[in-house]
């Protein structure tokens, strides 16, 4: 068929829907309720398109194409409907896409993410996440003004999470490492960027530019880098060596800093251009202290300006304060810094003069408290009017003030009380009332736009009016915070990168972020009533005495224990699904406003009753995907719609808590179908993130079905397992184990080191020790037991070990009868789920399929519901035989306890046979077993690879009769406890190889992260047990691997 979409002709097949054809051809149509696994439903209404000749628009998900159809997906009317639709959907949505801390941070650091990493003990991951947005966490962890903590929802409970302390914790940890974290550098671009100023904005830009492969040079007028971080912040808050080390990390990424260069004189735009710089960033900061503007100020030599004073202290040129009285004017952080510095310089008294009261002070509360604690005298509601010198001292005339009506900023404005002036004497007066920018470099040769003494630059890109010239930091904004400068530097870096690559400069994508409440004040505190109280961590600090007359760092940093405990206080405000939510994606794409159609929003309690699934109806969009997948695909029907109108909701059957529904098989298909965060996996970790996960396409290893699986990991932690809808032998369907239980492998009970028996006790030892003992003790009377969990490659090596010694291979858990049957009657095999789909009769022998939770059961259940017959029997009776011969496509399913004597009988019958494999590679390993031998072998020496036979059959007997036993396993099993040497085994997440599933497909299992390598362990074993030369594992071993050859048709990607 030919159809026309948006003016272009396309070929399409009859029976396809408009949506399918559009997707096939890369034409984007948004939809929230459509899922290829399900029948079209039509609830979200987003996918409507215009079809020529039809009355109104059509739902593209449910409308099949007709020949010659003319479709428009891109008209203004279609776009308008989509926007209104999304705006309606968000109008009844309740939740936060991103946590308020994340949104409040000027650099938008994923605060919730790094706190979660810390809670999970993944400190390096936390640091990486921070450095993705802020290359100066050591600095920020000490000096940040913490807007994140102001917005922290935990304020409504018992005080904000100590976010900044946590950041400092991981940053300090990294700093102490021999090789601190450096991002992977992009290939060199050959472009050169010049940055003027080595303050936070310049350093930040330099880091990102260098990481993007550019050559970066910072030109700095001062002798040392850091800008205000060094010259404006006292060392007791930010020790110089700490600052140096963090800047050194930036330098080690390939950033050069040239000192002593003044922009405008030593270097100019012209000279930089001549030197081959492709772009320039002006990050000159806000360096000039402001005058008080009162009489006598200029005539008194001992009236200093705050930033100049702090800078002189850094430079070692501090004025002699010993025994002197100092007056500091101002109420901001600089005033506190000056006051506390003055005390440290030995001032006898420091008086802080401020025209309002402490409540109105712009300085951070903690700074004010510390200043007071250290002995600064607060003279509130006083304001200097004039200064004069008298007898070597400065006499300051202070006006008494009172607070009047609130001004534009909301603060009560100070008013002078007439006639209440008084004089105070001091040796020094420091005015710390603000800073301004030195823009003397702006001239005809550098005609960058300036407004109100600030450089004019685009907020999102730092672009100035001059091509290739960017600006960021205080020079643009006036004196602001370090984090704002860092954020601006980063934005400028990305724009400069685009510029230097000759690309169009576009600011970073601004995501739609739904919020429950725009600010902390708008929240209903009752929402937090049930949160358990847990005091905020207290920063260990030097005592007043310890701080006396020195610049030692006051804040000592928190311990690991404190950090983890503090991280656990996080309320996880941001949505678990924020990175995958389709509603957020479309809302971003269509530029949706949250409050376009503001109205009543129902508040639903979160249903946490299910063992694996969190159900948050506040985010439900009634697409019904969960209801339908449970009904249509899983043939269960546990979820349904309840009530009508605006109150209609999705509920588990009989409106019981989700966890109480007995028929739920915990497959998690509903989660996989939910396009938003209404159904999410419960995390196996202390904190769920959400993280930016590493995704590894691999297979599930819980049973022999070999379902395709996406293992999602962060560092060496498994976060969750998902699947791709419709893909793999399982069509993306997973069972409880595959979807929810992989996280068990994160267990801290996992074996990590080898154990050796000494004086009857198993004690930890080195790998060398263990291997040495194995080499010495293993006799030639050896049986190697191989679990069905071993990969084909592992089994091959194990078999060769046995062969070398003249021993045998065996398995406790693999029934050779099944494999012989497969070999004898390959045509009787059920080779895929297709065979189950087309079956019209199931005969389950000693097997209750429906009690079985695996994907197989779902396939059978669905087939039975669609009309296939189902017989459960212990034997092949006459009735069973009759039913089989009457059926067109009968399938016999044998339980693990079936009688092998049935097999010859089955071989004669016209039915396919399925023997569900218990282990992921039972069929692959079976090929390496000396199956002509008895199933269970008694021997002097045993190597047991991943089996735990104690308690089953002859398992205990075999172990008891052996003289030397080596067990390799994930956990210290009952069997391992009896061994002489125990070797730790790596999980499927840490290893690569192949598994042969129950249908005979050999599939690849792929390593998700580095951990314990089983093949490396096997190499060691091989060499210990007399192999000529230990060989490094290589995948070439696969080529003569029989399991692989037997299924040559399966194309495998060899590594």
């Amino acid at each position: 068929m030919k159809i026309n979409i948006n003016g272009k002709d396309y070929e399409a097949k009859a029976g396809q829907t408009i949506l399918q054809v559009c997707r096939e051809n890369g034409i984007d149509i948004p939809t929230l309720c459509h899922d290829e696994r399900l029948k079209p439903f039509g609830s979200c209404m987003l996918c409507r398109v215009e079809v020529e000749g039809s009355r109104g628009t059509m739902l593209s998900c449910g409308t099949e194409i007709t020949d010659g159809m003319v479709i428009r997906t891109d008209t203004e009317a279609v776009g308008k409907s989509r926007r209104v639709c999304l705006e309606l959907l968000v109008s009844q949505h309740r939740g936060d896409c991103k946590a308020p801390c994340n949104l409040a941070c000027p650099a938008h650091i994923d605060v919730q993410g790094y706190i979660a990493h810390i809670a999970n003990g993944e400190y390096e991951q936390a640091l990486k996440l921070i450095k993705d947005r802020n290359p100066l966490p050591v600095v920020c962890g000490r000096v940040c003004t913490r807007p994140c903590e102001t917005e922290c929802r935990r304020n409504a409970v018992d005080g904000s999470v100590a976010i900044d302390y946590l950041k400092r914790y991981v940053a300090d940890l990294d700093l102490e490492k021999d090789i601190p974290y450096l991002p992977e550098k992009a290939p060199a671009t050959g472009k050169k960027a010049a940055i003027i100023g080595a303050g936070p904005a310049g350093l930040s830009a330099a880091w990102y530019l260098a990481a993007m492969g550019h050559e970066v040079t910072i030109f700095e007028r001062r002798k040392a880098p850091g800008g205000m971080l060094r010259y404006g912040i006292p060392a007791y808050r930010l020790p110089r060596e700490t600052l140096d080390r963090e800047i050194d990390i930036i330098k080690s990424l390939g950033v050069e800093i040239i000192h002593g260069k003044n922009f405008g004189t030593d270097i100019t735009l012209e000279s930089l251009k001549a030197e081959g710089y492709d772009s320039v960033l002006l990050a000159v900061g806000s360096q000039l202290g402001q005058a008080m503007g009162i009489a006598g100020e200029d005539r008194c030599s001992n009236v200093l300006r705050g930033v100049d004073f702090l800078g002189s202290v850094t430079e070692g040129k501090a004025p002699e304060f010993n025994g002197k009285s100092v007056m500091v004017v101002g109420g901001g952080n600089t005033a506190m810094d000056c006051s506390r510095t003055a005390l440290r310089l030995g001032a006898e008294s420091v008086t802080l003069v401020y025209r309002r009261t402490k409540d109105e002070m712009p300085a951070e509360k903690m700074e004010i408290e510390e200043a007071e604690y250290e002995g600064v005298i607060f003279s509130m509601l006083t304001n200097p009017k004039a200064v004069r010198e008298e007898e070597g001292k400065i006499v300051v005339t202070l006006a008494r003030m009172e607070l009047g009506e609130p001004d534009a900023s909301g603060r009560r404005s100070p008013m002078e009380i007439v006639g209440a002036d008084f004089d105070v004497t001091a040796d020094y007066v420091i005015s710390a009332i603000g800073q301004t920018q030195d823009l003397s470099f702006v001239d005809e040769d550098c005609p960058v736009s300036v407004s109100r003494s600030r450089l004019v630059a685009d907020e999102d890109t730092g672009m100035t009016n001059l091509e290739g010239v960017f600006a960021a930091g205080d020079a643009v904004t006036g004196p602001q915070t370090a984090i704002m400068a860092i954020a601006a530097g980063r934005k400028a870096a990305f724009a400069m990168d685009q510029y230097m690559r000759g690309e169009k400069i576009v600011p970073e994508k601004k995501y739609y972020n739904h919020t429950k409440a725009v600010s902390y004040e708008e929240l209903d505190p009752s929402e937090f009533e049930d949160v358990e109280r847990e005091e905020r961590v207290k920063m260990p600090m030097l005592t007043k005495e310890q701080r006396h007359l020195n610049f030692d760092e006051v804040e000592l940093g928190i311990s690991e224990e404190q950090a983890v405990k503090e991280a656990l206080r996080c309320l996880e405000c941001g949505c678990e699904d924020a990175n995958e939510c389709k509603l957020r994606e479309y809302a971003t794409e269509y530029g949706i406003k949250q409050d376009a159609f503001k109205g009543a929003v129902e508040e639903h309690p979160i249903d946490d009753s299910h063992p694996y699934i969190k159900r948050d109806q506040n985010k439900c969009i009634m697409c019904g995907c969960c209801v339908r997948i449970c009904e249509e695909v899983q043939a269960l029907g546990i979820l349904g719609f309840v009530d009508r109108g605006y109150n209609a909701t999705v509920q588990p059957e009989l409106c019981q808590p989700f966890g109480s529904v007995e028929n739920c098989v915990n497959c998690g298909q509903c989660v996989s179908a939910c396009p938003v965060g209404a159904l999410t996996e419960k995390s196996p970790l202390s904190k769920p993130g959400p993280f930016v996960e590493e995704v590894t396409d691999t297979i599930c290893t819980f049973c022999g079905a070999g379902c395709s699986l996406q293992l999602r990991t962060v560092g060496d932690l498994i976060v969750r397992a998902t699947s791709v809808a419709g893909e793999g032998i399982n069509n993306g369907n997973l069972c409880e184990s595959g979807r929810f239980r992989t996280g068990l492998l994160n267990s801290d009970k996992r074996l990590k080191t080898p154990l050796i028996r000494k004086d009857g006790e198993l004690v930890p030892c080195t790998m060398e020790e263990a291997i040495k003992a194995i080499g010495a003790e293993t006799t030639d009377n050896l049986v190697v037991y191989i679990s069905g969990r071993a990969t084909n490659e592992e089994a091959k090596v194990l078999a060769s070990i046995a062969a070398k010694k003249g021993g045998k291979t065996a398995s406790f858990g693999i029934d050779p009868a099944a494999e012989s049957f497969y070999t004898l009657c390959p045509d009787k095999l059920v080779t895929s789920y297709e065979d189950i789909k087309t079956a019209d009769l199931f005969v389950a022998i000693k097997y209750d399929i429906f009690e079985n939770p695996y994907v197989l059961a779902t396939a059978v259940r669905r087939a039975v519901r669609q009309g296939a017959g189902y017989i459960s029997a212990d034997f092949i009776t006459k009735e069973v035989k009759e039913a089989i011969s009457a059926a067109k496509n009968p399938v016999v399913v044998l339980g693990p306890a079936f009688d092998p004597a049935l097999l010859p009988e089955l071989a004669m019958m016209d039915a396919k046979v399925l023997i569900p494999a218990i282990r992921c590679n039972s069929r692959g390993v079976a090929k390496y077993l000396d199956v002509e031998q008895d199933l269970v072998q008694i021997a002097e020496s045993l190597i047991i690879w991943g089996e735990d036979p104690v308690g089953y059959g002859k398992g205990r007997e075999v172990l008891d009769k052996a003289k030397f036993t080596v067990v390799c396993d994930l956990f210290l099993t009952e069997t391992a406890r009896l061994a002489d040497v125990v070797l730790p085994m790596g999980s499927f997440a840490e290893n690569s190889g192949t598994f042969t599933n129950v249908f005979g497909n050999t599939q690849e299992v792929r390593q998700a992260f580095e951990g314990i390598s089983n093949l490396k362990t096997l190499d060691e074993l091989t060499s210990a047990l007399g192999s000529a030369e230990p060989k490094e594992y290589s995948c070439k071993a696969l080529v003569d691997c029989p399991a692989y050859v037997a299924n040559g048709a399966d194309v495998l990607e060899l590594m």
Partner: protein, 589 residues
């Protein structure tokens, strides 16, 4: 003589059963009198219930209305025993005389021909008035295709609201070849103020059954369902009786009227979800699933009930079928306008003097119905508008009362023919409040499936609610129009697609009322309480204290013979003072 007592829901609600009991008792006391007491369905004049009709041996009927027990006694004594009608109480006579005769004589009754004239539980009485004659004709002398042709030729359109040609719908359902087909009667009448279907089912159930069997024969269905709401117990009971009777006489069941054609009919009771009147939701409900509309295609004609080709018709549509087949398509097509044929039944309600069941030839005007049959407003106050088509319909203002009632003309006004609800409003009705009322209905009855209907109507409703509370915002009208447009375009089913109509038509004809609410914070109809104030005119107040004594919240104070004052903070705006004041001293603004 025969005494017929109106025992539709309207008659029963007005005390008809008690009147029947009285007549029966009196008859028992007078053994040997020539009197048969029977019952009938709704006679149409709901405003006159309880009603009785005395038919003398010559067949002349005398109808009495608003019959009280005392009146019943006198009618028995004077008319039944004495042979002289009690002329003062006669509502009408069947010869067309009587004070209220206009109500009936100005109608043209095809669907309602037997309603109120026969005992609905008597098949013989129905047959005596031509029931099943159409079926007999169809089965014995017509092929299914000929039946469909007749229905097509008649121009009959679906009376449920959408007005799709019935013959065409039948043709679609007849086309597919299938082992099983269904024909379904949609009796899920749920519009506020609409009771046409109920009255037909209660008054003449056989007409619907006959229509179903003819339809089943025409499309090849052998099974049928009547989907009727459980809130219609009398209709259900009479349907059950009628089905049994029809089966006994061979009009239903195997080998109907001796032919090869068999048809079985079932009743499915709906649980009161308005949306189940939408045909795909109705099908889901019969199948035992949640009544939720689904996407079309596939249309029910191809994949309907249990996945089989199905046809769904409204009660009134089916009640026309027997007549059309019996009398011929031409005769039916002769009634009505060029594009809309036949008659339409309306449930005339609201502030109208003569409320009741009205069947008019299509093409009559709004004025004809409201004034000619309805007798104007019940309050005597100026007629303001009429709401046609229920919550999916719209308001037609008094200024357009010459509007012809047919499908196309009504659609041009922004209203729709709908299923036949017709609600009359006078100047005391606030049009914003009316829109809010109807939208509230559709919002609550939305199935909650699609975004526009579920959330969109809620947001519109919230805007209307705040406007009637005096909290309307500058851009509210704009927002209402935007949402209304989008909801109409994008909703999944008819419920959502038409839900904004009451808002759109009131905005079209009464925009000034919206603006008065939003900008001036005034309700011109003096109905929205937060927007009105009561005041006492000092000059006119005589200090009689009546208002103060009647005020339920003691908001009025003042001493005897001196002007009183209303405390605006205490006043609950109930209006009692206004009606109590004999001196016209109290005003509302």
């Amino acid at each position: 003589m025969k005494l017929m007592i109106g025992l539709g829901s309207c008659g029963i609600a007005s005390g008809g059963l008690k009147i029947k009991e009285m007549f029966s008792a009196m008859a028992r006391e007078n053994p040997g009198i020539n009197l048969v007491i029977s019952e009938t369905g709704c006679m149409g004049m709901c405003y006159m219930e309880p009603m009785v009709e005395l038919i003398d041996d010559e067949g002349q009927g005398t109808v009495y209305g608003c019959v009280s027990p005392e009146m019943a006694k006198e009618i028995f004594e004077k008319h039944i025993l004495g042979g002289a009608p009690v002329e003062d109480w006669v509502v009408m006579k069947r010869d067309g005389s009587g004070p209220e005769a206009d109500f009936i004589t100005k109608q043209q009754r095809i669907v309602l021909a037997r309603c109120g004239r026969i005992n609905p539980e008597s098949l013989d009485e129905a047959i005596a008035m031509d029931a099943y004659k159409g079926l007999e004709k169809a089965i014995k002398s017509m092929t299914p295709a000929e039946v469909i042709d007749q229905v097509l030729a008649s121009g009959l359109k679906g009376r449920g609201g959408a007005g799709f040609p019935t013959g065409l719908k039948w043709k679609f359902a007849a086309a597919p070849v299938a082992d099983q087909k269904y024909i379904i009667c949609n009796a899920d009448e749920g519009d506020p103020g609409a009771f046409m279907d109920r009255s037909i089912l209660e008054g003449d159930p056989h007409s619907v059954i006959e229509g179903l069997v003819i339809g089943g024969y025409a499309i090849g269905a052998t099974e049928g369902y009547i989907y009727v709401r459980a809130e219609y117990p009398i209709a259900i009971k009479r349907l059950e009786i009628a089905i049994r009777q029809a089966e006994e006489r061979g009009f239903l069941g195997n080998n109907i009227l001796g032919s090869d054609y068999s048809f079985h009919l079932h009743i499915k009771q709906g649980a009161g979800a308005f949306v189940c009147g939408e045909e795909t939701a109705l099908l889901a409900s019969i199948e035992g699933r949640r009544g939720m509309p689904r996407m079309r295609p596939p249309y029910p004609a191809n994949k309907g009930l249990f996945g089989k080709p199905s046809n769904i018709n409204n009660v009134e549509t089916l009640a026309n079928i027997g007549w059309i087949i019996l009398n011929g398509a031409e005769k039916f097509a002769a009634i009505g306008t060029e594009k809309s044929k036949g008659t339409k039944v309306f449930a005339l309600a609201g502030k109208v003097k003569n409320s009741g069941l009205v069947e008019i030839p299509i093409g009559a005007s709004v004025k004809d119905v409201v004034f000619g049959i309805g007798g104007g407003t019940s309050s005597g106050k100026p007629f303001k508008a009429v709401q046609i088509g229920g919550p999916s319909g719209g308001c037609i203002p008094a200024g357009l009362s010459d509007t012809i009632i047919d499908y196309d003309t009504l659609a041009e006004t922004g209203a729709i023919m709908g299923s036949g609800g017709m609600i009359v409003m006078d100047e005391d009705n606030c049009m914003v409040d009316i829109a809010r009322y109807f939208l509230n209905f559709t919002q609550v009855e939305s199935c909650g499936k699609c975004t526009f209907c579920k959330i969109g109507t809620k947001r519109m409703l919230e805007i209307l609610e705040r406007i009637t509370k005096g909290q309307g915002e500058e851009d509210d009208i704009e927002k209402l129009e935007l949402l209304a447009d989008q909801i109409k375009r994008n909703s999944l089913c008819g419920l959502g697609q038409t839900a904004p109509n009451p808002v759109l038509t009131t905005l079209r004809y009464f925009r000034h009322e919206y603006e008065a609410h939003i900008k001036d914070k005034k309700c011109p109809a003096h109905l929205c309480k937060p927007l009105i104030t009561y005041e006492i005119d000092e000059e006119k107040c005589t200090g009689c204290t009546v208002c103060a004594r009647k005020c339920p919240v003691d908001a009025i104070s003042g001493s005897l013979k001196s002007p009183h004052v209303i405390d605006g903070l205490k006043c609950i705006k109930c209006g009692i003072c206004l009606s109590a004041c004999k001196f016209d001293a109290i005003s509302v603004d």
